[in-house]
Symmetry: C2
């Protein structure tokens, strides 16, 4: 026995379910600009698929002049681009809705940021040649299974409207943070749709089909739909663009702190435009001050890091709020838009601390 080496202390994913695997990022402890694969949140509808990588082909068919069947080799030879993007699960922060909604009780960590490299979907669509009437592009994954509300077996599949499919930053990605995409995150090919909630970024792409109608798979027409009412489907509309949002990383809710200066810090992001302002209140919304924002590295689709130095001179209980605004003038509301399946939570973030 000798002097022990200083023990390693590290954060872990937070486990929600194991089959299918759903684990969230300990976002409060992420300091890096991008999230390493080990801490990338895992969100699955089904068990992991089984697919042969040695014989992988990507078909592109449907309403095209020349259907394609591409090998990985083919894809890797096409012009690729890299984007840094926030990927946020539509159910991120679901656990904060009141009244509570059913489904995975995600806290603040169903969100990721990283560099994705791939071939624009647009390049493939142009090569195949869209035919007249092409309306949506259906991307199907290799994962499949039963959903709780039906006994039928479905493949995970989603469509994009043609305009979004043709956006030059909608990628058929093959690298995450300069490595092949980890299997759990979609190896060998994953769709990456910046600015949309994560359900659009289909993993383990099996095929791409161009259609002339509106795709109505269950992950398009049942799930990932905002239902404003508890009892009926009136006023339902699809989940698409990421809402303007912010998260307080430190301190943590219900922390007990010393009197003195404390750094309040966090992230802010949006699916439209860019973040223009993050405001902090330490008196439950009576007064607000701009946080210092560091968006030098945030790029077009990244989050900004913000911080605020708080002089906590007096003992007592404090409610701290963060509120982001984006360049389209969207601002976080004080109350979330409640919807039955719990998507798109973006109320201002709120924690309570006690100064002793």
């Amino acid at each position: 026995m000798s002097q022990q080496s200083y023990p390693v202390v590290k954060p872990y994913l937070k486990t929600h379910t194991l089959v299918p695997e759903n684990q969230e990022t300990p976002i409060e402890f992420i300091q890096n600009d991008t999230i390493p694969s080990r801490l990338f949140y895992r969100r699955n509808h089904f068990s992991y698929p089984s697919l042969s990588h040695s014989n992988y082909w990507l078909p592109i068919n449907g309403l095209v002049s020349a259907p394609l069947l591409l090998s990985m080799q083919d894809l890797l030879q096409m012009p690729a681009k890299t984007v840094k993007a926030v990927l946020e699960c539509a159910g991120d922060k679901r656990s904060f809705f009141k009244p509570k909604v059913f489904g995975e009780q995600w806290e603040k960590g169903a969100i990721n940021q990283g560099f994705w490299k791939g071939v624009p979907l647009r390049t493939l669509l142009e090569r195949a040649g869209l035919r007249e009437g092409a309306k949506e592009v259906v991307i199907e994954g290799y994962d499949y299974g039963k959903t709780p509300d039906s006994d039928q077996v479905y493949t995970y599949a989603r469509s994009l409207p043609i305009e979004k499919a043709l956006h030059p930053d909608t990628l058929i990605a093959f690298e995450y943070n300069q490595q092949p995409i980890p299997f759990k995150h979609g190896f060998p090919l994953r769709l990456v749709v910046p600015q949309w909630y994560g359900m659009a970024s289909v993993k383990w792409i099996k095929q791409i089909t161009i259609i002339n109608s509106h795709f109505s798979g269950p992950f398009q027409s049942i799930d990932y739909v905002y239902y404003p009412n508890k009892e009926n489907n009136e006023g339902a509309f699809p989940v698409t663009t990421i809402n303007v949002n912010s998260t307080i990383q430190q301190p943590r809710d219900m922390d007990i702190l010393n009197r003195g200066n404390h750094i309040i810090k966090g992230i802010a992001w949006t699916g439209e435009g860019y973040i223009t302002k993050v405001e902090i209140s330490t008196d439950n919304g009576q007064t607000w001050t701009n946080a210092k924002m560091d968006n030098r590295d945030s790029g077009q689709y990244g989050w900004v890091l913000w911080s605020y130095e708080w002089a906590a001179g007096k003992s007592g209980e404090y409610v701290i709020l963060s509120r982001a605004t984006d360049s389209t003038n969207r601002i976080q509301p004080s109350e979330p838009f409640w919807n039955r399946k719990g998507y798109g939570y973006n109320a201002m973030d709120k924690i309570k601390v006690k100064i002793e």
Copy 2:
């Protein structure tokens, strides 16, 4: 690239803080009879201590006839015993108090079960010879630091009343699950006090002192005290014995399930006597049925595993409760005993699920 091997899916500790390290066990996913070191909850007041294991000596002094200074060698040669015990943090389930209380927001996983091997503290006290007037035994750890409510530096130290110190199962432990205790859990020596909340089981033992008065260190007289009132200290009393308690492991709160049969399962434990009954309600407490209980392996200080097969034939929302009773007729209350620092939560466990 070849057919991928099936990906490993495993639960992780849930991170609360990194310095000091506080992480909880994903108790919902524990199926084993004992919890492996990797998933043993970590609860610290301070940074990990730095201690020299190559020159480790345990002093036993104070009100004794012959103070001892024991080497690990000395200890390993004494008669040892093994106990299986539940170790539960006094703050386990703190996050469920309403109104919320400040401090680490532990969910259901600040609890552990495992086999501890060590020398009874009683053996050491007998060897040293207690002198007249011996009232408490103070166990001091190697960990130290400032507490949030003071600028003074304190060592983590706790006392036991003489009777508890002399209990034959109060151990100076050196093994956990047949291995040397992991450093993060107290290597080389840790006190293990079965039936008491975990704050009593001091890690990294530095010294043991017998005193003739009541020890009043901050972890005895400020923390680990039940304060029934928010605004004053009236009616305060110390945290000691583990309350009768139960936890539903599966399903999880706000799960969406198919119609059909579902196994509701969990654990139940107590710090007095043994568990005699676990009842389940699937109608928010209107009717109760006994769960099947498997306590063959629970031993004197272990938890029991229980399960209940629920025929969920009708769609709708269900509130499921679990309620344990022990052999001293303690029974889980429907509401917890609210106390300002949030200790000893033991209200019946409660989840809500939706059958589709």
